[in-house]
Symmetry: C2
Subunit: 352 residues, 2 copies
C-alpha cells in the first residue's frame, strides 16, 4: 500500500509521547502534567459557554487570546503567535524559520521532537553534545549554522541556562534565528522574553500545558519580533486557517486572568520538587538540578530500565528513555505531595 506514500513518509520516525493510559489507574508521573486543576475561572468560563456558538468558525486570528497574551507579557499583538499546543507552534517554526542551507543546531540530549521535525521538513541539522553534567555547552553553538533551538530549562535534564548565557548565544549568532523553547520556564528558570526587545532573531515558545494545567486543551504560543511572527502566520495560514477552537480560545483567556492561582500552583509544584529531590538523594539517587516540573535522576545502581518496569508494576508511571547517555536515568514528573510520597514509598520497597 505504501506505493501511494509520498517519499518522505517512508523515512519518518515519529515522536513517541509518554504513555497515556485511558483507564487512569496509574499514578502518572510520566508526561509532566500538572497535579492541580486549571484555574477556577476556566471551569466558570466553560459553564457559561453557549454551545450554539460552536456552529460558527472561530476567529482565524484568535484575536481575543492573542490580545490577552500580549497584555500578559506586555508586548504588542503583532509579537504573538498562537497554535494548537506548543508542538504545533514548534512544527510551524521549524518549517518557517529553521530550514536553511547551513545546518540547524540543537543539543544531542533535548526534546526528542526536534529531530522528528527535521525529518518532516527535510531540515539539515547537527546535534551539539551536552557536557558530562548534561549542561548546554555554549562553545558548540559558535560554528556556522542556519538556526539554533534550545529548550530552557532543557528536557529531560530540567537544567536551566541563565539569561546571560542566552544573551551570549544570541549575540554570537546574529544571522541565525534562535528559538528558545520555554515549555517549562515557569517552574524556576529565567525567561528570555526581555531579550526580544534587544534581539530580532529570538523566538520564545511557550505552552499552557504544564504551568497552566491545560495539557488537555492544546494551547501554545510564540513571542518574538513581528517579522518572525509573520513567517509563522504565513505557514499557519497555508496549513489550517482555524487551529484554535472557540472553547480553547475562551478558556485560555480565562486561565491568563487568574494570576494568583497560577503563581500558587507553580510555587506548590516547586516546593514538592525540592522535597522530592532531597528524598531521592537520601535514597542514593543522583539528581540533576531542576528548574522544571520534573526531576531527572539516576538510581543508585544505574539500572533505570529495571526500575521503570518495577515502578510500572507497582502502579506508578515514570518516563524512561532507552537512549545513549541517558538510559541510566528516570524522568519523574512532579505530582501532588501524596503522589510523590507514594513514589518514595514504592522506591524504598523496591530498592530495599
Amino acid at each position: 500500500m505504501s506505493e501511494y506514500w509520498s517519499k518522505l513518509v517512508h523515512d519518518l520516525d515519529p515522536y513517541v509521547p509518554g504513555e497515556q493510559p485511558q483507564d487512569q489507574q496509574y499514578i502518572k508521573l510520566n508526561t509532566n502534567e500538572n497535579p492541580y486543576p486549571p484555574a477556577p475561572g476556566v471551569a466558570r468560563c466553560l459553564a457559561a459557554f453557549d454551545t450554539s456558538d460552536l456552529r460558527r468558525y472561530p476567529d482565524p486570528q484568535s484575536a481575543e487570546l492573542v490580545e490577552a497574551l500580549a497584555d500578559y507579557h506586555q508586548v504588542a499583538a503583532e509579537q504573538v503567535f498562537v497554535g494548537n499546543g506548543s508542538d504545533e507552534v514548534l512544527a510551524h517554526a521549524f518549517q518557517a524559520l529553521l530550514k536553511h542551507d547551513r545546518p540547524l543546531l540543537f543539543a544531542d540530549i533535548t526534546y526528542s521532537f526536534y529531530p522528528v521535525y527535521c525529518a518532516l521538513y527535510a531540515i539539515d541539522y547537527r546535534q551539539v553534545p551536552l557536557d558530562d553534567e548534561l549542561r548546554i555547552d555554549l562553545d558548540g553553538y559558535r560554528s556556522e549554522n542556519g538556526g539554533i533551538v534550545i529548550a530552557n530549562p532543557n528536557a529531560p535534564s530540567g537544567i536551566a541556562l541563565g539569561l546571560a548565557a542566552i544573551r551570549e548565544l544570541l549575540a554570537d549568532n546574529p544571522e541565525s534565528p534562535v528559538i528558545v523553547d520555554e515549555a517549562y520556564v515557569d517552574f524556576g528558570a529565567e525567561t528570555a522574553l526581555p531579550l526580544i526587545a534587544e534581539f530580532d532573531n529570538l523566538l520564545v515558545v511557550r505552552s499552557f500545558s504544564k504551568s497552566r494545567s491545560l495539557a488537555g486543551l492544546r494551547l501554545g504560543y510564540a513571542l518574538g519580533r513581528p517579522g518572525l511572527i509573520e513567517a509563522l502566520q504565513r505557514v499557519k495560514n497555508s496549513f489550517n486557517s482555524y487551529p484554535i477552537d472557540r472553547l480553547a480560545c475562551r478558556l485560555g483567556v480565562a486561565s491568563l486572568a487568574d494570576d494568583d492561582y497560577f503563581r500558587d500552583t507553580v510555587a506548590h509544584v516547586i516546593a514538592t520538587r525540592e522535597r522530592l529531590g532531597e528524598a531521592l538523594q537520601a535514597l542514593g539517587f543522583r539528581v540533576c538540578p531542576s528548574s522544571a516540573n520534573f526531576l531527572f535522576a539516576r538510581p543508585p545502581d544505574g539500572d533505570a530500565g529495571r526500575l521503570y518496569r518495577e515502578l510500572r508494576s507497582a502502579g506508578i508511571l515514570v518516563r524512561y528513555f532507552d537512549k545513549p547517555r541517558i538510559d541510566d536515568c528516570l524522568r519523574i514528573s512532579i505530582g501532588s505531595d501524596d503522589e510523590c510520597d507514594a513514589l518514595l514509598a514504592a522506591l524504598k520497597k523496591i530498592l530495599g
Copy 2:
C-alpha cells in the same frame, strides 16, 4: 527581518478564509456555517465535562472518537484518521500522499486551499479545467499524474459528481492516490465511502463543521484503507502528538450519537436551499444545481462584485471570489429560513 525566513515562506500565498466579523452584527451567509446549533447531546456533554480533566494530555490516538466514527461508518478503526478540522487532515494528506514526481491534478475551480497546500509542501500540480457549466470533466484526469484530489460536491459550484463517475476516476488511476473531499457531502451528494472496500487508492475526507454544526470545534477526519491511514498517522505523529483536545474528542462523540437530529437539520437546510434556489431564479439569477449547503449564483447583470458590496452594506455577508471564470457569481451559504428571506428582501430592493 525576512532574512530569518526559510526560503519557502517568501513564496507562500496563504489561503484567505471568508470574513469572520466577531461582532456578529451581520447576517452571515459567507462561510457555509450551519444555521442550527449542534445536537442537544453536545450541550449536555459540555455541561457534564469535568474541567480538572484538562490538566491531563488527551489520548494521542483519540481512540474514543476514532471508534465512534468507525462504528458510525461501519469501517475498522484502522481505517479512520482524525484531525483538527478537515483543513488539517487535508494538509497532512497532501504532504503524506500527494507529493510525487508526476503532478497532482485538481480542478481549476475548486477549494482554493489546494494550491496553497501545494506551495507549502512544494508539490507539483496541474489544474484541470471544469467544463463551461462548471462540471468536472473526467477526460482531464486520464493524463499521467501522481495523485488526484476532487471536492465532491465541488466548491464553490455545489455541483456533485455521481458515484459511477468517481468509480471510473478510481479505476482509471490505479497507481495514484485519489482524495475525495466530502466536506459538503451530507447535503445531498453520493458518498464515495462504499468504494473504499473496492479501491485501495481512495481516501475520503470529511468534516464536522458543516452538517454537524461544529465549525467552532475543529474536527475533521479521513477514511480509507489502513495503508493510507498509516501515512497520515506518520505525518501527524511527526507534527503534533495530540491535535484533538479532550473537549473536541468528547463533543465529537456526542454529536455522532444523535443521528435523528443530524438528519433533521440537514433535511431542513436542503429544503431551505431548494426554496432559495427557486426564488433566486425567479429574480433572474442563474443558479448551479447544488448538493451542498450553499448556492453558487450569477446575478442577472453578472456584476457579482457590486452586488456583494451592496449586500454587505445592507448587513448581509456572502462570498465573492474575484477570480477568472467565477467573478460573475456569488456563493451564498444556506442560512435559516428567516435569514434567507432577509437576503431575498435585500436582493429585491437592490435589483429593483
